[in-house]
Every structure is written in C-alpha cells, then in structure tokens.
Amino acid sequence: MEYSAVKGRIFDIQRFSVHDGPGIRTIVFLKGCPLRCRWCCNPESQSHEIQKMQLNGKEKTVGRDVTAGEIIAEVERDTIYYKRSGGGLTLSGGECLVQPDFAEALLALAHEHSINTAIESTGFADFSVIQRLLPHLDLYLMDIKHIDSDKHKAFTGQPNDKILENAQRIARSPVKLIIRTPVIPTFNDTEEEIRAIAKFAASLPGVEEMHLLPYHRIGTDKYKGLGREYSLSHIEPPSQEKMNRLLEVVNTYGLRGQIGG
C-alpha cells in the first residue's frame, strides 16, 4: 500500500512543540498504549477506542481516524520552521509502536519530505516492530521509568525486561537515542532509583543525554472527564532542589543531564 493511504488513529496534533526533541516540532499523538502509568498526563491516550471526555463543561470526542497522507500535509505546513530550528516531526501518544503500519508510514513520508523525525516511546513492543521504524527515524526519545521490574509493573501495568532489552538494541542502531525518565514521587524519585537508571543509560553505546521530567498534575481534570479515578492525587510535584540533586546524580555518569524535555 502507498504510505500516504495508511490509516491510523490519533487524538491530537500539536504544532510549535518545543519540548520533545530539538527545535520547533509538530507532535502527532497516536491513540492507544500498552502501559497504564498511574501518573499519565494523557489518560485519554491509553485506550485505542474513540472516547468521549468532559472538559471545561463540554463534551469532547477523543480520537479520530486519519490517513498518513493527510497528517503529513499538516505537518508539512511548518517545514520552514523545522529547517530554521533543526526541528521536525515527533510521534507521541499513546504509544506509536501499537500502530506500527501507521507509524512507519508517517516517519517514511516525513523523510521523503526531508523532515527530521523523532518518536517518544516506551519501547514496549517486539523488537521486530521497532526495527521497521528505525530506518525512518533520526531520534528515539525513550522512557526508562524504573530498573526494578516488579515496581515497574506495579506502577505501569507491565514488566520492564522487554523495554531494557530493546533499549540496548536501539542503542546499537545508527539512530540517536535519548533516555527520558519521568520523576514520580513514591515511585522512582530517590537518588538510588535514579542512579540505577542513569547507570543503565550510561552503559548504552552512543547514549549521551538523559532527561529528567518532573511529575506534574496537568492531566488531573482529564481523569474526571473520563469518569476515572486519579490514584496519585495525594502526590506533590518534586521540588526544584530535589530535581537539581537528581540531575547531579545523572551528570556523575558522564551523561548530559537536563531537567525537562
């Protein structure tokens, strides 16, 4: 099939995104995710189904079916800003690996238009799926949330062995890999836990950067809007001081650490 005719399901497109990859980017949010992270700020991204969500007193339909061609047409509108800033397209979600045909089509089309590509992904899939995307990818922003598989499972619903293994294989590919860790109090915000992740990241060949993304509560209203309970409502975002301490931990492993994307 022509790439442009490949269908997929998204729930948002955000232009002028400046925190997910270099430069000015357009983020396409794909719907559906195999993980159920308790802190997820886009709970409407998790189910692959098209849903209704109440937001600011209005009902909003979340999710629409599109073709890769029409999405690229919109992404292309900002080509000039990508060129000026070194930006491009980022696939986020949800998890783009859940829709491999669609993700591959979007990335390949972007490259056909000389647009830089990135994905923001959990890496939770069979490597054969990831392998299909790598030739069309410039940057892999990969979440490593915890080194302890049991704790990982308790907070995200899935163990982490596949994720860690995939990270090692991606690191050996020519694609640039950046490790990102959401810092979630009660889950992974101790120095030991971050140290374990940093150590792992530093062991990956070619990985130079690690980003710490401080927990925030921006998505809380969406849980209500979907009629769901937000289980982390008692948690406070980490202080700037704490983030700085964790950043130092990261830097000691020779990684270029950064707070925020």
């Binding site: 002028f16 400046v18 925190h19 430069g23 983020i27 000026r84 800033s85 070194g86 020519p174």
Partner: protein, 866 residues
C-alpha cells in the same frame, strides 16, 4: 540509501549549527553585555517621579513672534518664531546629565503648538489631569497664559485651513468615524528621519555654507527665485538660532560648574560646556560630542513642530565612525555605553499631549522615536557592529518606552545578534520589533527607491519603512477602519439620519456573494476617495501655513529644489494611510459566504437584524453609559429637554437590549454557528486566501491616488492603538464580534481566535501580501515568558521569526508578559510604575494606558511552547 542521505543531511545541518556557534567567537563585533552606570538609574528614578505636565513657554514665544511678523513671507515668519523660541525658552540642565538639552523645565513635560490647533487643549483643560489615557498636569497659571495666547490663533491654524479645504461628504464621513486623519489634522506631521550624519560631520556651520553656496547659484530672474531665496534665508536663520541655543547651554553649564562643590561633577559640567560650544555648530570630533550633537537635532526638530515619530533611524550606523575614533583615542566601552544610555534617557524626557480621542489611538505618551539596529549597508553587506549590540544593552539598561527600538533581520544577520535581540524580547519590554529586509527592500523599490536607498531603509514611528534624509512619507496619514464600510453595506449607506456612504442597495435583496462583495468594495472605494480628500486638504494646509525651514535643511533635496519638505522638497514623497481590521473582515466575509450563500443556513436579512441587535447581547455598563450620553446629546440638539427619568429609561433600554427571547435564542444559535467556522489565523488556506483578497480591496485602491507633493499613496496595515477606540465606534460585525468591542489589530488574527499555535498564526498572516502594504504591516504576538526560557527557548524563538520572514512577512513584535502579571498591575499600579508593554508599533508604560486598552492587550491570544 535515500534514508541514509536524509539522516546525513540532518547531521550536516547540526554540524553547521555548531560551526555557526564557533563563528560567533570570531565575529568582528563586540557582543558582550556592558555594565550599567549607577547614574542611569538615578536619572530615571527622578524622571519617573514627576507627573507629566504642560508648559506654556513655547506657545508664548511663538505667539509673540507671530504678532511681530504679520505680513512677512511664511518661511521667514516660521524661522523667526523658531529663533525667538530658542533664544528665550528656559534652558535646563538636570542633575547628573552628560548630554543636555531639555524641551521643558520639568522632566517628561510637554510644550504646546497652537499653530496646528488649540481648541481641544482649551476644551480639555479641566479633564487633562484626570482622563484615562495619557493624563497631564496643567497649572492654573499655565491655563491662564495659554488662554491668552490662544486668542491670537483663532482662524490661523493648519487645522482650520484644512477643514475649509475638505469636501462636505468628507466631513460627514469623518463625523461618522469612517476614518480619522486626526494625527496631522491637529498636529505637525513629523514622521521623518533627517540627515543626522551630515550634521554630525559638518555641523550647522557646514550646512549654512551649503545653503549659501546654493544662494550664490540662483539668480534674481529665476522663476522660483522669490520662494527659494526666502526659504534658504529662513533655513539660515533657523540654523543660526540652533547654534545660539547650544551656546546658551554652554553658558548655563559654566554657571553651574562655578557653583558646583563636587569636583567630579564640576569637571563633567565643564565638559558639557565645551561640547555645547563645539556642537552642533561644527562637526563632532568624538563620540561624546556626536551624542550631544545628535540630541540637539532630535530635540529641536520636535521644538519646531509638534510632529511625532521623529525617528533617529540607523543610530548604530551614523554614530559608528565617532565611536571608532574615540575607542582608538582611549574611550572605554563602559563610557560609550553610558553615553548611549543617557541618549536613550533623553528620548524619554519630553512627551506630547494629544486630544483625548487621539490619546486613546496613540496611547502611552509615545513620541514613536524609532531607532533601528542591524541590517545591510547600501552595498548589501551586513552592517551589524558594536553599536548594534550596545543599542540592545541601552534598551535593557534604560527600560523605558523610548526609543521605539527595532532591529533589521535578513538572511545574512549574525545569529549572535538575533539571539541577543531575542534576549531583549524575553525581558517583556516589547522591544525590539523585528523587520524583514527581504520584504521591505523590494517593497520600497517597487515604490521607486533605488536599490542603494532601499537597502539603507529605517523605520519611522510604528512600522513604516523609508530611506533617511530623502523621504517625506506622511506615514500615519489616517486610520481606515475596514469594518465600517461593511456596516454601510448593511445600512445601505444610511446612518443616524444621514447618507454617509453610497447607496449600494438593500442588503436583503442581494442574491450572490459576488454581489455582496462588490457592494463592500464600492463602499470601501468611496471612503478611500474621501480619505484621500481629507489627507490632501491637510497636506495643502501644512504647506501653506506651517512649512518647516529647519527640518527642510536636513532633508534632500529641499535646499537645491528651494522647496520645504511640506511642499514636496524631499526626493521621495508618499502618503500612507493605514487600514486595520483585516482579520474581522476576513472572518466576516467567510461567515457570510458560507452561512448565507454556500449553506443557506441564514439570510442576509437575518444577519442585518442580528447586527442591529448586537446578536441579542447586553452591552457592558461603560459602553451603555457612553451610548446613553450620545442619545441624550442628540435629543438635546433637537431642542428637547430630557428629564432624569427619561435618561434612566434610555439607559436601561440600551443595557437590557430588549429584544424578544425567541430572537435572542435565534441569535445565540447564529453566534455558535459562526464560532464553529474556521477563522483567519489558523493556517486555513481558504480563509487565508480570502483575507488576502479582502486586504487588496483596501491596498490596491489606495495606491491609485496621488498627493499634492507630487508623490503617491501607499497603504499600510497597522492600527497604532486605534483598534480599541475605533472599535468602540463600530457596531457588531458578521464574524461574531460584538458591538463596540476592539477590532483586530494590524494584520494579527482577531484576539483569541488563533488557536493552533504561533506557526499556524504566522502562516496565515504571511498569506497576506506584505509587499503591497509598503507603508508597513504590524503583527502582534504574545508569548508567555516560559516559551522563551533557556537557550533553547531563544533559539526556537529566533527560528520562528526567521520562518515567518522566510514566508515573506514583514514585521513582527512581541509581548512577553504573563496574564497574571498584567492583572496584578491593574490592581496595584503603584507596584508596576515601570512595567513596559508592547501596544502596537511601540511600547508604553502599562499603567499609563486606558483600562480598555489594557484589556485589549490582556486578551490577545497568548502563545506558549507546548
């Protein structure tokens, strides 16, 4: 393989960026920040502690002189009056100053100019201090003095003469606020950049010699001898007066030095005296003298006439030789910076009083002295130098609304310069405004400038490009509210009992979008012709009653042509009236096209009624009060006495909007249908294409006309701040905009309607033809401070500006203040005395703006980084 190439191309891109970073270190200019002298804050604090006030000296001496010169040729009368003012007006040296010359005794004071108009000043004596926009203190004694002075001026002003030159239908249209040429109707013209470089180089003694050489060439038998000889004599009288004025300052400085106990200050004052004895009579020999010479020119152009937007232009270029020379002679960078900071402060030391209505349109006491850095030289090389960077630093140090600071951007601009400019933007001061050489240079050439002249352009006032020392651009010629002709279509040209516009037929009977569109065009064209009549009448009045010999000796080719600037003595002559409301018009046309003609959901009759009834919405109390006053005044005019009860009932009828509930429901449905339509500013190709066409209705019509100075009309698309007061005189529009609310500013999308982020907004705005709007376009963007955070924030910001410019946008400016900060400033103005925000083509102290303009700024769509 192909994919590999893409990856490689991206890698090369990043490598290039790295190299660029290295280049920065090798650049020829000094780009580091330089520390601020403590002197700057001392002067600034003192300056801001005084309430602006009106002084009468200029008006008194002007009038004295005019009384003595009755019957003499006008050039001589103007020159003698100018000389009489300069010989007598108080000379004031403020504490700590190293650059001297003050228009008024008190800081941030204001002189008045009765030769242009005076009636409004007198009428507003008692409200000047309390009005919401730009209040001024005026003492009882000054009121009395001015009251005496004004007796002389009845029947003698440019304003009165202009009125008598206007056609009756023009006056009717102006009364109905179809357009307002208020700026030059009541004031001097200004809007010019003179040959500062020439004065710096040879001084007025050199210019007098140029004039004398010209006098030697002309013969008494020449056809133009009488006028030319008179004008040249008047120029010499003026230049000599300026030299005497500087010498008065030298004398004053010596007097102060004599009584000065502090030896450091004493030495400073003696230096000041030395400088004023030297310049501007002779050429400047060093940077300090050059700054002083510049300041006298800047100050005195604004003493000869009340015209504002006297724009210093390319200060970094014409000052550079003096900076270089002084640096070689041992001047420190710190001292050079201090002198520049002091010049920046002086540019804030005097203000201009405008009538209440104009004050709202030009809110913020602004004098629009536009100063621009960077860009190309006449040969097309990048011209960025140390002073370009130091101009940015001066703006940061002084942090006041003047000068209106701009930068030129082109494909060869050093990245370091753009990043430094972005840092200034991040402070939230609203400076610099960014201008695109790649649009403006060809645009000016399309108006007849040579390539070399076009490359040297600078900006006048808000956003208007021209070449210095050769142009009389008449840039702020009138505000043309593009929404009003649309109202006329719905009203068949008839409003408040008068035929104001054309009879384009009953709107209910129109059967196609084409017909409706043509009716709008006909109304718009008609009002453009009346606008031209108004402007040309004013133009002629200035030439006859207020030619300016002093200004004219610094603009080519007035000396050779023997004509003042006001009579067409400049090489390039234009008239530039500015249209605004393009976003509302585009959205309105789109609503009519889709809802009436494509979908048939509503009829034009529905729209007509909805607009008449303001979509069934209540009016806010402030607007209702104003409207009530208008209604009552109308009744009173007709000789009816109105009781308090009647006033009450008029008011409650206005505020309640007594239309029946079923109608209200119908209008509410209509509004929600309009809301779901795509809007200008969201990168929708169809709506944007329509916006481009609608803008052409105005811009292509304007350029058909000529002015009395032998030049052409050229359109601008910018509003200054008039989109608020003139919006307050505009009924509801088919885009769902409610009656009397602000109209969209400049070429920006309507406030709050661009929801797809800054790149989408930029793409829409750049769809308009910015080349034809050669008198300037204005695109406002508001960013939350977090969007520019960190090095990445600056990089992305610069890339956004460059991206917009790649797409051939011509101007961009930013407000980077959080909504919360502005709200807090409304509540606690005393805490925010020095909060500067971007209004339109200029910045102003936020707390000095009227409430409604503050609201407009707060409501502009705020862009964040996602």
């Amino acid at each position: 393989m192909e994919n590999y190439l893409v990856v490689l191309s991206h890698k090369i891109y990043f490598m290039e960026q790295e190299t660029r970073k290295k280049d920065r270190k090798m650049a020829e200019f000094y780009s580091e920040k330089i520390a601020k002298s403590p002197r700057i804050d001392r002067i600034k604090e003192k300056m801001l502690s005084e309430m602006p006030q009106i002084e009468a000296d200029r008006a008194v001496y002007l009038t004295e002189s005019y009384k003595q010169t009755e019957g003499e040729p006008i050039y001589i009368r103007r020159a003698k009056a100018f000389a009489h003012i300069l010989d007598n007006i108080p000379v004031t040296i403020r504490d700590d100053e190293l650059i001297v010359g003050s228009a008024t005794v008190h800081s941030r004071g204001c002189q008045v100019f009765p030769e242009y108009s005076f009636e409004w000043v007198e009428a507003e004596f008692d409200t000047l201090a309390t009005r919401s926009a730009d209040p001024f203190y005026i003492s009882e004694e000054t009121k009395k003095t001015l009251h005496e002075v004004y007796k002389y001026w009845k029947g003698k002003t440019t304003s009165e003469l202009a009125t008598s030159y206007m056609a009756p239908e023009t006056l009717t249209a102006m009364e109905a606020n179809m357009f307002t040429p208020g700026n030059y109707f009541y004031n001097g013209i200004g809007h010019v950049t003179v040959k500062y470089d020439r004065v710096l180089e040879v001084g007025y003694s050199g210019i007098i010699k140029d004039i004398e050489d010209e006098i030697a060439k002309i013969k008494v038998g020449d056809g133009n001898y009488c006028k030319k000889r008179n004008l040249l004599d008047a120029m010499i009288i003026s230049c000599k007066a300026v030299i005497r004025y500087a010498n008065r300052y030298a004398k004053k400085a010596r007097e102060l030095a004599q009584n000065e106990p502090n030896s450091t200050r004493k030495a400073e004052l003696l230096k000041v005296a030395e400088n004023c004895e030297r310049v501007p009579e002779f050429g400047a020999r060093n940077f300090h003298e050059a700054c002083q010479s510049f300041w006298f020119v800047q100050l005195l152009i604004q003493t000869e006439s009340s015209g504002h937007s006297i724009s210093p232009g390319r200060f970094d270029q014409y000052m550079f030789p003096y900076y270089q020379k002084s640096r070689k002679e041992g001047m420190t960078r710190e001292f050079a910076q201090e002198l520049m900071d002091l010049v920046w402060l002086k540019l804030n030391d005097f203000l201009k009083v405008r009538d209440e209505a104009s004050a709202e349109g030009f809110a913020g006491y602004s004098l629009f002295q536009n100063l621009i850095a960077g860009g190309q030289d006449e040969h097309g090389n990048d011209a960025t130098n140390d002073l370009s960077f130091m101009s940015i630093t001066a703006t940061e140090h002084v942090f006041l609304p003047q000068p209106s600071f701009s930068v030129r951007v082109w494909n060869g601009s050093p990245r370091a310069f753009l990043l430094r400019a972005a840092e200034l933007t991040r402070t939230g001061i609203g400076f610099p405004a960014y201008y695109n050489d790649e649009v403006i240079i060809p645009s000016l050439m399309s108006r007849g400038l040579t390539l070399e002249d076009a490359r040297k352009y600078n900006i006048i006032g808000c956003v208007e490009p021209q070449v210095a020392g050769k142009t009389d651009g008449w840039h702020d010629a009138a505000f043309f509210n593009m929404c009003r002709p649309l109202e006329m279509v719905f009203k068949n040209g008839f409003e408040n009992g008068k035929q104001v516009g054309l009879k384009t037929g009953n709107v209910e009977d129109m059967t196609s979008f084409g017909e409706f569109y043509e009716a709008y065009k006909a109304q718009s064209d008609y009002f453009v012709s009346l606008l031209v009549n108004a402007d040309n009448a004013i133009d002629v009045a200035h030439a006859e009653r207020c030619p300016l010999p002093y200004l004219s000796c610094m603009v080519d080719d007035c000396i050779k042509a023997g004509k003042s600037v006001q009579e067409g003595g400049a090489i390039y002559n234009f008239t530039g009236p500015q249209g605004f409301g393009i976003a509302n018009m585009a959205d309105a046309m789109w609503a009519i096209k889709t809802l009436v003609f494509d979908q048939g959901k509503y009829t034009l009759k529905d729209f007509k009624e909805a607009l008449e009834n303001n979509y069934g919405k209540e009016m806010d109390s402030h607007k209702a009060e104003k409207l009530t006053v208008t209604v009552i005044k109308e009744l009173a005019k007709k000789g009816k006495t109105v009781s308090a009860d009647e006033i009450k009932s008029v008011y409650s009828a206005i505020i309640a909007n007594n239309c029946p509930q079923d109608k209200k429901d119908f209008y509410a449905k209509m509004l929600s249908d309009i809301e779901t339509l795509p809007k200008f500013g969201n990168d929708n190709k169809d709506v944007d294409a329509l916006a481009r066409e609608v803008a052409y209705i105005y811009t292509r019509e304007v350029e058909k006309y000529s002015n009395p100075r032998g030049g052409k009309y050229q359109a601008g698309l910018y509003p200054v701040s008039a989109n608020v007061p003139l919006g307050a005189q505009t009924g509801a529009t088919p885009d769902g905009r409610l009656a009397f609310t602000p109209v969209a500013d400049g070429v920006s999308p309507a406030a709050g309607r661009d929801v797809k982020g800054p790149t989408a907004s930029c793409n829409s705005v750049s769809t308009l033809d910015h080349f034809i709007a050669s008198n300037g376009t204005l695109f406002n963007m508001k960013f939350h401070p977090t969007a520019l955070a960190g090095r990445h924030g600056l990089e992305n910001f610069v890339s956004l500006v460059q991206g917009y410019f790649d797409r051939k946008g011509s101007h961009m400016q930013f407000n980077v203040v959080s909504r919360e900060t502005l709200r807090d400033a409304q509540k606690n103005p005393e805490k925010y005395k020095s909060l500067v925000v971007r209004v339109a083509g200029y910045s102003a102290l936020f707390t000095s703006l009227s409430r409604s303009l503050q609201e407009d700024i707060i409501n502009r769509t705020e862009q964040g980084g996602f």
